[in-house]
Amino acid sequence: MNSLRDFFVSRRLTLGVLVLAALVLVACDGGPGESWPGVTANADTNVIYVANNKSVVALDALSGEKLWAEDYTYEEALFFAVPVGDNGTVFVGDYEGRMHAIDATTGEQQWVYEPERRMIAGPISPDPKDRVIGSVAVSEDAVFFGLGSRNVTAVSRETHEELWTFETDHGVWGEPLYFDKTETAPATLYVVSLDHYLYAIHTESGDQLWKLDLGGAAPGGMTYDEERNWVYVGTFVSEIVAVDLDAHTIVDRVKVSDWVWGRPALQDDILYVGDLGGNLYAIPIVDNRFGEFADIDIADGGIRSTPVLTDGMVIVSSQDKHIYVVNKELDTVEWSEKTKGEALTEMVFVPSGEEGQAGLIVVGTSDNDQKVVAFDYDSREEVWRYD
């Protein structure tokens, strides 16, 4: 009975603490405290670049040996973005809107762009911090990147200052596409946004050239089809959309089962793309239209990354903590291998360069003990891991 009385006494406090504890737990779920590793490779030097949490790391692609690591002491310098290497410099944006330029050989920071914020008094500013979630596009003079909540920014590679900001109505999470000027067109940056639009932006002025409603949010990047001058985009209305960059029109669209986040991979006029329902599709392009596609329900979790294509095989990673190797007809899963964490980030295939050996599949995972893992394509054994 005493305990019952005590219960009454502490009831309010207990319930209050319960509510608050639950709110804290829930708030942390998928919150800014978590990120997935962005993985990319330099095929010429066989170096893997990994951006994760507060570090950017360079690893030897074949051995996994750490070549250099740049650790940041910012309060919140989380990296979601995939680093991009260009001419000896690695560019990667962080979770406070900064853009880092790092020497690709030594890991030393060359420069950092930090967005200017107007301060009213003390820490009070009308400009909220924004996040860089997608990777960058690079021209000779500038670095272009989207921000998590809205807008695209161009930063000068020479002065490291902002050149312009292009306004979008929602976040830009995918990698922009940059095209140098031609005889008929100015240098143009293409971005897709969560606001449903594909934008063509004049890279010198930052002005909009044209825009096109895709019908749904486009969180990933675009895949460029050089032969047709088209781009392919996946959307959250479960569609793959083909856009003609010359005509500024949607050429065709195909409906799939679930939301598409990953960028499609293109080979021999066939698009390979996964959806967040765990399905993989092979969509042929026939007579400048989408043909009848093949699909396979392969994973129990979403496929967010872009499929990696090797000779005759399609490799995908999944939220269900597996990588899958499927033949290109999508009728046979050749093999699958378990990863320790959810494999949501882009994968890299590193050719071994030796006769009779295919190479390594490198994938990032959400598990701290296996941030990046490399599997031998032939033996399926784990060759190295970075944690």
Binding site: M1, N2, L4, R5, F8, V9, S10, R11, R12, L13, L15, G16, L18, V19, L20, A22, L23, V26, A27, D29, G30, G31, P32, E34, W36, F80, I120, I124, S125, P126, D127, P128, K129, D130, R131, I133, G148, S149, R150, D169, H170, G171, W173, L194, G215, G216, A217, P219, F236, V237, S238, D258, W259, W261, L276, G277, G302, R304, Q319, L344
Partner: protein
């Protein structure tokens, strides 16, 4: 487990967003109102139970004084008192516990649909009961100076969250608790409860203020809407004395506090109940009906008691 709650909430929120012209703030406010209405029976029961427990505080205090050296007998007497008044002391908790997953679901739905981070957006996939609503994902995050997926850089919303949470706590804080606390009569339980309530009155606003500082400002909109709607809801139920809570009218005096809380505002018949001092806890008990099965607040039993006592 929470998916049962979160998924329909996400679907409803997106549906509201679609039909309300893509106004995310309006959607959150309407959504909060709908959830408040849906949980009204639970809130009402909880209020009744809390009120019934409040009314019993003077009686409990007397029992504690009477049996301060015999805890076992005091416990028996308390149980008897609860039975007599048809009050289930645990009944106040149950509605709160049932509401907890609803509140969490609401919270998660707002966070997920604003898609502040990639993992939150990823978490949204497969949750829509109406696939057509995919076309409105994610919600527009721009409102006035705010990016609803980010904390308010001007700190206006956190201040409003703290203020409205405090106001709600203050308005709903039982006045008897404070009186009991002041009278220094040795009612340890009541004093502790009052102190606890008082602590929560300051603790809760600060905690929610911290949330508002740290998380998406869309959530702050929800907190503010929820607080204001809560205050309005209780005001409509006639359970808020604004003048007293705001210090514009004197608090109830000790004598008033020592008697069962006048229930006339809520149940006129209960106000006829005589002061407990006139009827000992162990005086011959009036006949009463079978205790109500769920017994949160048995008004029939009270009516019968009041009637028989008045006759007696």
């Amino acid at each position: 487990m929470l998916d049962i709650v979160i998924n329909p909430f996400i679907t409803i929120l997106l549906f509201l967003y679609q039909i309300l012209g893509g106004n995310v703030v309006l959607s959150i406010v309407v959504f909060t109102i709908l959830v408040r209405l849906a949980t009204y029976p639970l809130t009402h029961k909880q209020q009744q139970s809390t009120k019934a427990m409040q009314e019993l505080q003077p009686e409990l205090k007397k029992l504690q004084e009477k049996y301060k050296n015999d805890r076992e007998r005091m416990a028996q007497a308390q149980m008897e008192l609860y039975r007599e008044y048809g009050v289930n002391p645990l009944a106040g908790c149950l509605p709160l516990i049932i509401q907890l997953p609803i509140l969490l679901g609401l919270y998660r739905a707002i966070v997920a649909t604003l898609a502040a981070t990639p993992l939150q957006l990823l978490n949204l996939s497969g949750r829509l009961w109406v696939p057509d609503l995919s076309s409105v994902v994610p919600l527009e995050n721009k409102f006035l100076w705010l990016n609803l997926a980010m904390p308010d850089p001007l700190y206006v919303l956190p201040i409003l969250v703290v203020a409205t949470t405090f106001l709600q706590q203050k308005l709903l804080m039982p006045t008897t608790s404070s009186n009991n606390n002041q009278n220094g009569s040795g009612n340890e339980t009541a004093d502790q409860a009052a102190q606890m309530t008082k602590n929560m009155m300051y603790f809760m606003p600060l905690m929610f203020g911290f949330f508002a500082l740290s998380f998406a400002s869309g959530l702050s909109i929800y907190f503010i809407a929820s607080n204001l709607i809560g205050i309005g809801q209780y005001a409509l139920m006639g359970k808020i004395n604004f003048r007293q809570a705001l210090g514009l009218a004197p608090a109830e005096d000790e004598n008033e506090a020592a008697q069962p809380t006048p229930a006339a505002k809520v149940k006129p018949e209960a106000a006829e109940k005589p002061k407990r001092s006139e009827v000992s806890a162990f005086a011959p008990k009036p006949k009463r009906g079978k205790p109500k099965r769920e017994g949160i607040y048995d008004s029939r039993a009270q009516r019968a008691q009041a009637k028989s006592r008045t006759k007696g």
